[in-house]
């Protein structure tokens, strides 16, 4: 019974996501792996938004009604896809050597063994993440006192609008809680272990999307190698086993940015990539407060890319409008329910951050922090140590530095320069947030830095892949 209900909790978002993705991608050739990966994220993101909106309209949640609401979106999408002849899940693409996982035309046996070896290592990691998530109850601090407790409250009260739950939520976006509550509604019972199934599914989905996009440009071995490197980030795998918001934020932000990069790389040709990017970044706003600022950084980079892209024809202002406006519109539509609900806190919070950034002497006195130069040097030292000498990221930052030094010619040219800039801007964002704001104490006690840095780690590896590998080398 548990397996069946958990399967339903995974299958419904996947089907909903497939239906929506098929409308967005139309007849664009994409692999089943990519569509499946994207589908789960889109589906679960949309379901949590539906749950949140229903509660906003004072409608209590229950599984039959949720299923009805989901069907209202899913069935017309599937019908339209069928009518227009869009492929929903192109199983045939698995047989295409260019897109498939296996690579029978690999020139040497050793390559095939290596590929299988890498695939085996990735599968081991995925299995481990699933096992660790599902076998243990909720144990970690933030999950216990916020995300999973809110999930339990939503399930038992059928709404998040109870005073106790609202106190818990404060100004923190509730995606993680609604995602767990969705599993509880599907199984009609509160099972804290099964509630965490969402996170390993997101982990698998991230690997699938990452692999599929690398595979479009690089050989099977290269794509698998870099996917393996992503799966081998210890901090990423660890967070995928917990019920924290940091991994889902990483998931939505990195996929959103990945498609933004692909959109820029393909000379702004495929609007579907822009739509997917905006969808994921918008959902990221519903996962964590950081999602709002991260989406802002991406929007800035997109604007810069529009302005400086020489291959775009026509007036710059028109280009800017035709690309940036739809992007921002989707972002706003997706995140509107949360932004509307939280607009008071958001405005106050942003004002507060802006004031604090300007009034550094006051911050030093009020929060009893060291003066800015001392904070700056302390932060530099901590960042350096944590990035290069800890076990969180293995050698990811070293690889990034190496790629910047050795492949500077490629990195400092469009389109890769935009991805590189995104990584650096995110790093700057983390640095500013932890040095110039009261959160400095979290930098000292080690509470926050790695978790905030996690969001961009898939992008760091993606940047290294595009810098170090030769595109369109298919063997």
């Amino acid at each position: 019974m548990n397996i069946l209900s958990t399967g339903t909790a995974v299958l419904i978002p996947w089907l909903l996501g497939l239906a929506i993705i098929s409308i967005i991608l139309k007849k664009q050739p994409t692999s089943a792996i990519e569509r499946s990966g994207l589908a789960f994220g889109v589906g679960i993101g949309l379901i949590t938004l539906i749950m949140f909106m229903l509660n906003l309209f004072q409608i209590s949640l229950n599984f039959p009604f949720l299923l009805f609401c989901i069907s209202l979106i899913m069935l017309p999408c599937l019908g339209f896809a069928k009518f227009a002849g869009y492929p929903v899940l192109p199983i045939q693409s698995l047989k295409n050597p260019r897109l498939a996982l296996t690579h029978p035309t690999a020139p040497r046996q050793i390559f095939r063994r290596l590929e299988y070896g890498l695939l085996f290592l990735i599968c081991v990691k995925v299995f481990y993440v699933f096992f660790e998530s599902l076998v243990k109850p909720v144990m970690d601090c933030d999950a216990l006192w916020r995300h999973s407790l809110i999930a339990k409250a939503i399930f038992l009260d059928k709404t998040f609008q109870a005073p106790f739950t609202l106190t818990l939520i404060k100004d923190n976006p509730p995606f993680v809680s609604f995602a767990q509550a969705w599993v509880f509604f599907c199984s009609q019972s509160w099972n804290e272990c099964l509630g965490k199934i969402i996170f390993p599914c997101l982990f698998l989905s991230l690997l699938m999307v990452f692999y599929a996009n690398l595979r479009k440009s690089f050989s099977l071995l290269s794509a698998l190698t870099y996917t393996f490197l992503l799966s081998a980030l210890p901090f990423l795998a660890l967070h995928a086993t917990t019920a924290y918001a940091d991994f889902p934020q990483t998931y939505f932000y990195s996929i959103g940015t990945l498609y933004l990069f692909i959109f820029i790389k393909d000379n702004f040709r495929l609007p579907s990539n822009l739509i997917i990017s905006a969808l994921f970044l918008g959902m990221g706003i519903f996962v964590k407060r950081h999602g709002f600022y991260l989406a802002g950084i991406d929007t800035l980079v997109l604007a810069a890319a529009c302005l400086f892209q020489p291959k775009l024809k026509g007036a710059k202002l028109i280009q800017l409008k035709s690309i940036l406006l739809p992007f921002i519109a989707i972002l706003v539509v997706i995140s509107f329910p949360w932004l509307y609900f939280n607009h008071v806190n958001l405005i106050a919070g942003t004002q507060n951050i802006a004031q604090t950034l300007v009034a550094q002497p006051n911050l030093t006195i009020q929060e009893n922090l060291p003066p800015l130069p001392a904070r700056f040097s302390d932060a530099l030292n901590i960042f350096f140590q944590k990035m290069f000498f800890f076990g969180n990221w293995h050698l990811a930052w070293a690889l990034f530095v190496l790629c910047t030094i050795f492949f500077f010619k490629k990195i400092f040219r469009p389109p890769l320069v935009y991805l590189w800039c995104l990584v650096m801007l995110n790093l700057l964002y983390v640095f500013i947030a932890l040095t110039f704001l009261p959160a400095f104490r979290f930098l000292l006690d080690g509470t926050l830095m790695n978790r905030v840095m996690l969001y961009q780690m898939p992008l760091v590896i993606l940047c290294c892949a595009f810098a170090s590998l030769q595109e369109k080398e298919q063997t």
Binding site: A232, P234, L238, L395, A398, T447
Partner: protein, 396 residues
Amino acid sequence: MKHSLSWRSAWLTGLICWLLLGAPSAFCSTPFDYQFDSGTNVVTWSSPDPKVNLKIEGPYLALTSNASFPYIISPPLLCLADEYDTLIIRMKCSKKDTATIFWATDFDQQFNANKLVNFDLGSANRFHTYYINLRQQHPAWTSKILRLALSPFAGPGKAEIDYIQLEEENLFTNLQSGWAEFWGPKGRKTIGSTINVIKSTDFMGRPINVYVYAALLLVFIFSLAKLLQPLFTKPLKPIPKSHIKPKFSIKDWEAVGSKVGGCLIFFWILLELCSTYTYWNNFRADWQDYSGKSLEQKAAVSAGPDFYAFIQFCKSRLPKNGVDIGLIFPGELGSLDLKGRYYLYPNRLPENCALDKNTPYVLVYRLNNSAYSSNPNYYLFAKRSEDQYILKRKIK
């Protein structure tokens, strides 16, 4: 003759000094070598805990424990940390666990968490020789060492110690210590209550990344030198102009980068294999603790069986729709409020268990005389044991 007498007196003085000062180590080859093959120096290692039984069994010092944290303490050492830095222990334990070494120095004479090194015991019921370079593994191994303490495992169990030696480091012991350190407990667990940091595994007191970077630097220098070599060597035959390559192109630079990057990925895979060992340990531990158990049993493992039973007791007694509650417990039990809040919902426990005078129900866990039990506004509502009960506010 005069000369002979002075030689003899000096010899006698030396013997008396040796008998007086060096007697405890009379059966040792160095001042800090405890062999335990006679009853002579068993008294020099002791345990202040009556639940730890120490005795000589054959050639070994046998430790049998019923204590939660058994440990034995060395005799006074008074050695310089710089000179004696490597501890060698040959020991057999009845279970696979993590052992801990503590020490007291002239600056900090207590055994405490600021000065400890952990090491893995390896397989149970087999003798292992452990090499621990304490100076490399902990910065607090400095100045003068007064005493050592060894805790072989936690909880009940038995350890048989063949010998304990404190020596000066050498290449062999350093490599042994480094290897054990690399596979040891440091870097295997996340640190911080909110899953913040995974430390790197260390080798000879430094993060393994340091060695990887050093190796990458060597690869870079070697690749660059190989690339630049033709520029500095004169060819034997003159090369036609059409065959002369540009001196140093970007492609050459990128080729060096590819080699260094390839090596980095190779090291990354090795590090991942090391991490896989951690995952394997986690997997085995969690399989043992959680697999095949019901949700209730898993929650009991996670929250502690007694506390979870108390939670279940409270849930069965409190109104089903949920009420505002308070929870009082001794501070040393840690963050029980987190789990209490989580498992007690729909009963609402405020953040940090903040109680006010109107809280209708107060749950008391492991406290005999809390402020509320003597509060005239509250009465005993339900009782699980003497120190676990529910108080209810009187309705005026």
